[in-house]
Symmetry: C2
Subunit: 307 residues, 2 copies
Amino acid sequence: MSILAVGSVAFDTITTPSGQVKNELGGSATFFSLSASYFTEVRMVAVVGDDFTSEHEAVLKARGIETHGIEHAAGKTFRWGGHYTENLNEAKTDFTELNVFEKFQPRIPMEYQDSKFLFLGNIHPSLQAAVRRDMKNVSLVGGDTMNFWIQGTPKELREAVALMDVLLINDGEVKMLGGDSNMLRAAQKVLAMGPKALVVKHGEYGATIFFREGAFGVGRHPFRAPTLPLDEVKDPTGAGDAFAGGFMGYIASQEEINREVLKRALFYGGVMGSFAVESFGTHRLRNLKREEIEERFEIFRELTHIE
Amino acid sequence: MSILAVGSVAFDTITTPSGQVKNELGGSATFFSLSASYFTEVRMVAVVGDDFTSEHEAVLKARGIETHGIEHAAGKTFRWGGHYTENLNEAKTDFTELNVFEKFQPRIPMEYQDSKFLFLGNIHPSLQAAVRRDMKNVSLVGGDTMNFWIQGTPKELREAVALMDVLLINDGEVKMLGGDSNMLRAAQKVLAMGPKALVVKHGEYGATIFFREGAFGVGRHPFRAPTLPLDEVKDPTGAGDAFAGGFMGYIASQEEINREVLKRALFYGGVMGSFAVESFGTHRLRNLKREEIEERFEIFRELTHIE
């Protein structure tokens, strides 16, 4: 069933130990949508400037992504520059030019209204909440956020988080949002804010999903998916959004939503994140084969499977 | 089959966010042996001072550990003081008093010579190598080390590592020893030094075992075990040695050594490490029941198991 993805489209200038790219197509909605497109129908809502060409749009269309909801505004597309040193887990921002993204007001086209799944990329929490309230027929809402909103707009963020079914953030973010240096206690505090499940992304160590008691079935324990140790991480940019795309995309492709599905979804998230980092920008996510995804899923399963 | 454990006995003074203890029984051989004692017969070689009383020895004897090889020297037992802040993954050393440990020359009693398994705790690599060469009948040798030896005695350490079947170290240590910031590449460089397998401990994220090609069976991929997110880590001291004790102890309890056994051993390592951190010092490792270990093993299995 179809997913509506709301977030950013960006042109990224990135330096990593493996090389450099300039004005490379990126952004949270782009990475998410390309990744999810291997599992289900995806519809995008974002804003771009005059510099977003039909060639850029063709990258999305080639994956069957519905781009009708991408608003074309006068001005330049959002640009971000950053670099990674040997510690590829952390990006250092060199510059941020919001451009047309500064005034972004997501507008959901009429024909997107029947979307059954919604992903709220990392944008102002008040915009996340407004979109969530607009979309009355969705069966599951996933969302992301970042330190900037946790510290800068805590009240608005809590309102947005309360409207999400699954929040997907990283270790540092869950500890900051939960106000606790212990991951389990911080996770419990975040779940008390409203979401039914919390996905904590650990970078090269995989991800853990915590469930609110009784949500999606029974069981006291969280669940963890690994990542595949790779001999070269070319560019970690977008890995978190690719993870979310695999996670949500797999869920949207299933008949039912229960814990078993969410566990497998966590593995698919890791699989798509691991592809994302193998190239700069979105290149690895453009031409995957479904068999490659299933093969890697099987490797991930074997990575932690004991009889 | 029996394991010979060579390492330190110490009295630790530890401060964590959960409290403080003074002159608490610890040391690498102590944590390792208590942990391994739930799986197999354990024999210790270490050195202690006049301050090591029969009450301290009783802690080991109560778990059936053979203490005949613990040398009693004139002077004080090795003492270590350290503290942990909110980041419980890293200890800050307050003081180190080597005392009788400074002149430690491991002597293996005659009746230990038939030990089938050997664990070389974190001591001078030349001592590790000498003990390894003495023990001609062992079927598997595990060993630990630390940054101090990686930087201070690199040549001696390489010689010792070449004599080990399985090296168990943490993330930072594998990157330093392998001279590479990428974990997989660093692991491959360490395996090229001689060991058949490398266990990398990731603290709260679990552990990964990398195999040298063809060692212990076939397969291209590493294997990862999780840890259980705990709502309170009282004292991380000794968790790595408890991990090694569960890992080696489980292997020693099995008929055959193959990849399936090593994978399960990695889970048992995580299980024993997770018990260790639930109390200060060795207390949680003194009175476990085998059922508690099996119960937690099952939780660890479910933590990553998909159908």
